[in-house]
Amino acid sequence: MRPGSISAAGLARTALAPVLLGVAAVLLWQWAVVAFEIKSFILPGPFLIGGEFAANLQNVVNGMTVTGRNALIGLLVGAVLGILAAIVAALLRIVDEMGAPIVASIAVVPIVALAPVLYTMFGAGAETARQIVAGLAVFVPVYFNTLKGLRQVRPVHRDLMRSYAVTSWQATKSVTLPTALPFVFTGLRIASSLAVISALIAEYFGGPVGGLGKSITSSASGSNYGLAWAYVLGSVLLGLLFYAAALGLEKLVSRRTNG
């Protein structure tokens, strides 16, 4: 966590401690399930979930593909729109002020609540509504963080660019964008897991079957709780995958821009 403290002891603490805590939690969970004879429809043990996950791997992966595709499309579209909107808002104050109440509403509103009307607008048989829900959920953090980043340019840098008499595009390229980039990636990192969660939850509100969300509800209502939890595990992995990808991209780009 803290740079400069990466010694053997530091590594043990930053890597080993969370792993140990995780293993301990899983074991405690399993022990509690066995010791208190908790019925599997309340909370199945982690070993049972793992077994179901392995046995139904193909189904879970199929579900992950459907939901993951929606989340990915939403993430890409939402991120591009969010960044573009932030650039426009940073350049034109009127757009920023006119958009303020709308963006503030989107930020506090359960976007998935829009899913039912989106299903009627785009057709209940298509995945579009889910992608839009994911896209809207992604838009908010990307927009806010990018806008914040674009406003971080320090006056001394702006004055410097002015004294060099460079064009506004050159200034944007050499100062504004590099300053804003870390903020954009922070937004993307937050958005990555939001995209998955939103695409998944949108499935609870209707639409075609096949995704993780529908699979969780249908196996739960079929009293197949181990399988339902296996799908949950699948969604956990999907969320992690998105998060790790965003984090990896961030590290890659920041290493390149730093030299």
Binding site: P18, P101, V109, T120, V236
Partner: protein, 296 residues
């Protein structure tokens, strides 16, 4: 900035903001007017919506519908009243979830601030917890309702909803508070050490006040998350009485009554804004702690 000048800026903000909403409504109507009835379909995928009155009702239909009765029955209350009741119900559960989430988040942040080992062991899991859609568990959490019972205490469905809301709410608070508690200058920490002030005194006099600036945005995020969590959990747990249930219920009526499903959506926007407004109010009381020091 003088008082009058500030008022002017505020007025301008509100005016342009209202204009923004009006532009959005105008765009809606414009697209509805010129867009093709079946929407714009590219390669079998609908990328722009259908423009029929069913899919995209006129803005005024949405507004007018709110003042008509919920159903055709003679004793039906107006739609806006039903939505208001649902909104208050949802707001109440969200508040419980928010309080629980804020408490847990603060305690976790204090624990992580106090013990570095706790920070390195817990923080990765706190971050990972949000990539885990616990909300996906909602259909499973429902089962707990009928099973958990200690003596007089019975676990009610709304508690499951609040639990899920708190799971979403605790994260920004834990991370924001931790950052806030670590935010005092080295200078200030040295000073407290010079005063031989212990951890608790340092916490109370320095770390907590210094964290307010970080805590308030976290509390606002937590409020939005709690509302989102409540609405979604109401749907997936199947709890009646809240705005989430109305959204699903009225969506079913959209076929013959396209204005109806929009009412609870506006209701949920209102709930979210009220929750954010409440946090802004807290911020007003804590104004003193958000002063910046001018570097000497």
């Amino acid at each position: 900035m003088t008082q009058a000048r500030r008022g002017q800026v505020q007025g301008r903000r509100i005016l342009t903001g209202a204009l923004g909403v009006a532009v959005l409504a105008a765009l809606w109507e414009l697209y509805k007017l010129v867009g093709p009835a079946e929407g714009i379909v590219v390669g079998g995928i609908t990328i722009l919506p259908r423009t029929s009155d069913l899919a995209m009702p006129h803005v005024w239909v949405m507004v007018a519908r709110a003042f008509e009765p919920v159903t055709g029955a003679s004793n039906a209350i107006p739609l806006w009243q039903a939505v208001l009741e649902g909104s208050l119900f949802t707001l109440g559960i969200a508040a419980v979830g928010w309080l629980a989430g804020v408490t847990v988040g603060l305690l976790l942040a204090l624990l992580m601030q106090r013990f570095r080992l706790a920070e390195s062991a817990v923080l990765p899991w706190v971050v990972l917890s949000q990539t885990v859609p616990l909300i996906a568990l909602a259909p499973l959490v429902r089962r707990w309702g009928s099973q958990i019972r200690f003596g007089e205490f019975t676990w009610e469905s709304w508690m499951s909803v609040a639990l899920i809301a708190s799971y979403l709410a605790f994260f920004p608070v834990a991370v924001g508070a931790l950052r806030g508690l670590a935010s005092p200058d080295a200078n200030h920490v040295d000073l407290m050490r010079c005063y031989a002030a212990g951890w608790w005194k340092t916490l109370w006099r320095l770390r907590l006040p210094a964290s307010i600036g970080y805590l308030l945005p976290a509390l606002r995020l937590a409020a939005a998350s709690a509302v989102i969590g409540t609405v979604v959990a109401e749907v997936s747990i199947g709890l009646r009485g809240g705005i989430g249930r109305l959204i699903v219920e009225y969506a079913g009526a959209a076929g013959g009554d396209p204005g109806k499903p929009w009412a609870p959506i506006f209701g949920s926007i209102a709930v979210g804004l009220v929750a954010a407004g409440f946090v802004a109010l807290i911020g007003l009381f804590l104004r003193r702690f958000r002063r910046g020091e001018v570097a000497a």
